[in-house]
Symmetry: C2
Subunit: 380 residues, 2 copies
Amino acid sequence: MRPLFSVLHSDPASRARVGLLDTPHGTIETPIFCPVGTAATVKAMTPVELSEIGVQMLLCNSYHLYLRPGHELIRRLGGLHRFMGWAGPILTDSGGFQIRSLAGLCRVTDEGVSFRSHIDGSLHQFTPERSIEVQVALGSDIIMAFDECLPYPCEREATEASLERTTRWARRSKEVFEKGFTQDPKGPLLFGIVQGGFYKDLRRQSAEELMEVGFGGYAVGGLSVGEPPELMLETLGGVTELLPADRPRYLMGVGRPEDLVEGVYRGIDLFDCVMPTRHARTGELFTRFGSVIIKQARYQEDNRPIESDCQCFSCRNFTRAYLRHLFLGHEILGIRLNTIHNLHYYVELMRDIRRSVSVDRFTAFRERFYAMRRETQECG
Amino acid sequence: MRPLFSVLHSDPASRARVGLLDTPHGTIETPIFCPVGTAATVKAMTPVELSEIGVQMLLCNSYHLYLRPGHELIRRLGGLHRFMGWAGPILTDSGGFQIRSLAGLCRVTDEGVSFRSHIDGSLHQFTPERSIEVQVALGSDIIMAFDECLPYPCEREATEASLERTTRWARRSKEVFEKGFTQDPKGPLLFGIVQGGFYKDLRRQSAEELMEVGFGGYAVGGLSVGEPPELMLETLGGVTELLPADRPRYLMGVGRPEDLVEGVYRGIDLFDCVMPTRHARTGELFTRFGSVIIKQARYQEDNRPIESDCQCFSCRNFTRAYLRHLFLGHEILGIRLNTIHNLHYYVELMRDIRRSVSVDRFTAFRERFYAMRRETQECG
C-alpha cells in the first residue's frame, strides 16, 4: 500500500513537487487550489459546475457551519458532503481564524476561546476538543488542529506565548482526533498548523514542536495578515524548508495568483483563498495578462470574451460588454459568470503548474508567468 | 405555406387551444409561459439552464434595456439574442407599463410619454415611434404596440380617453413597424394591446378598434393591477371571446399558476410574469400541492426535495433543509436553485396543460389542478 501522500516528481531547481493525496472522498493531484465554500456553498456555484471546472477539493469553514445550520444538524442529515451535494474531498479549517476575524471580542485562555456569534451575538466557546468534534461531525476529509492566529505586527513575546499555546492545542487536537480515527486507515487526515508570526526562530520552534507531535500534513498559518508580500514569502520559505518532504504542506488563506506560483516554488502542495470568488463578486477578473476590472467604460462595447483563448463557460458564451452590463445592474448572473471565470483561471493555473513541474519546466513557467503580466503593463 | 400561427386543436368544452407560433427565432408550442428577462437576463439563470428546463420564449423589458445598456448599443453589438446568448424567441414589451410603474412622474400627451429614469433621474420621452424603434433595434421577435396602462380603480371617462389614445398609438405603432417589416414574411410579429379597464363595453371598443387596425396577435393589457381576481377573469373572458381565433392571444404580466389555467380556459396562448423568478428570490416555491415557504422552521431537518416527484435539477440534487440553510444565509445558490424549481414548475404546468388540451382532457385537468391544492390545505 502506498502512503496517503506520495510525491511523484520534484523540481530539480526549487522545492516544487507534484504528488497524489488520498482522502476518504478521492485522490487529488497536488499542488492544488481549494475554493472556499464558507457556508456549505462556494458562493454562486453548484457542485456540478465546480466539477466541470476541474475543482478537486473545497475548503469549508467550521466556525460558520457550527453557528449555522449547526454541525450536529449536518451530521444528522448525513454529513456535509451529502448536505451540500459535493462528492469530492472537503477540507475544514479549525475555526480559529474566523473567531478572530469575524466573531465578537474573544477571551483566550489555555482552555480555548470564548466568542460571540457574528450572526446573533450569542456566546460560544471553541476548544481544541470542540473544534475537532465539529469537524468530525461535518465529515471533513482533512481536519485542521485548533490554532491561534495573530495579527501583524505582533510583539515577539506575545507571538512566542501564542505559538506555544498553539502547540499545546495541537497536541490536544491530535489526542481527541486519534480517539476517533487511529484505527481507520481510510479516515480523515489531521494537519497541524505552524505559527510563530514573522520571527524565523519562532517559526522553526513551532514547526519542530508540531513535527514532534506528528501530523498527516502541515499547514503554514498566520500569513497574509497584513505583512508585505516579500516578508510573507521569506517567512514561508523559512518554514517549508523545515517540513518533512513526505507530508503535504498547506498554505492557508493565501492568495493571489503570484502567491500560488511562489508557494509552489517554496514547496507548498495545497492552497485555499476566497480571492477568486470574492473578486468575482466585486468585478475583478483574473487573466494571464493581469486583471480585468469589468465595470470600466472601456469594456462598454467590447464584444470579446474576458480572456481571448480561455475555455471557461463564461468566455465561450459571453462578452465583456455583457458582463459589464450585468455587473452594473447587480445581476446575479454576472456574479455567476465572473466566479466561473475566476475559478477556471485558478484551476488552470494550478494545472499548468503541475504540468510544468512534471516535465522539469517549472522555472521557465514561472518566468513566463511574470513576463506575460509585464507585457500587458507595457501595452497599457 | 401555413400561417405564422396555427391552432392544432381546440378544447370542445372551453376556449382552450393548442397551437404553433412561428417566430424569426423558431417555432413555439402554445399555450406558453414566458419567463421575464428584464435587463437581458432572467435573474440568476443562464440561457442553457432555461433551455434545459424547457423554456421556449423570454420576455425582455424595452424600458430597462433602453435605459441600460441602451438599445443602440445592443444593436451595434449584434442584437439582444447575441448580447445575452439566448438563441430562442424574445418578446419585448412596449415600455408603457414600466414607465408608469417604475419611472419618475410622467407627462402623457397624444405625442407620447415623458418620464424620468429610475436609475439616474434623466429625462426621456417614449412615443409609439420610439417604442417600436427600440424594440426593432433590440431584434425582438414579437413587438408590442405602444399602449397606456391605467391603475385600478380608474374613472370611466379617463379610461375611455386612455383607450382611445391607445388605439391611436397602436395605429402609429403599426405604421412605423410596417415601414421596416411589411416585405419580410420572416420578420417579427406586431401585437396590439387591448385596454379599457374594467368596463366591458370599453374593452369591446378597444378590441374592435385594434382588430380594425389589424395585428399579428392581440394582447390583453391592464389586468392584474390591483383588482379582485374574479373581476380580472371576468374582464379577460369578455375580451378573449371577441378576439379572432386565428391570431395568438397574450395575457400580459399575469400571473399565478391558477391564472394560467384560467387564462388558457378563456383562450389565452401566451403568458408572462415575474412571479416564478421573483418568488424564488423571496423563498416561495411552487408545487402542485401549493407553496413551500422555505424559511419555515418545519423544513430545518427536512431531507426531502421541494416536491416529491419533481424532476428539476434542484429537486434531484438538494433537500429542503439545504435550501432553507441557503435562504437564511442569503446565498446566491439558494436563489438559483429556487428559480430553477419555480421555472420548472411553470414550464411543466404549461406542458401538462397543452397535453390535456390535445387529448380533450382539459376540463379534467383543471378539476384535478384545484383538487390537489385543496387536499393539501385539508392536510395542513
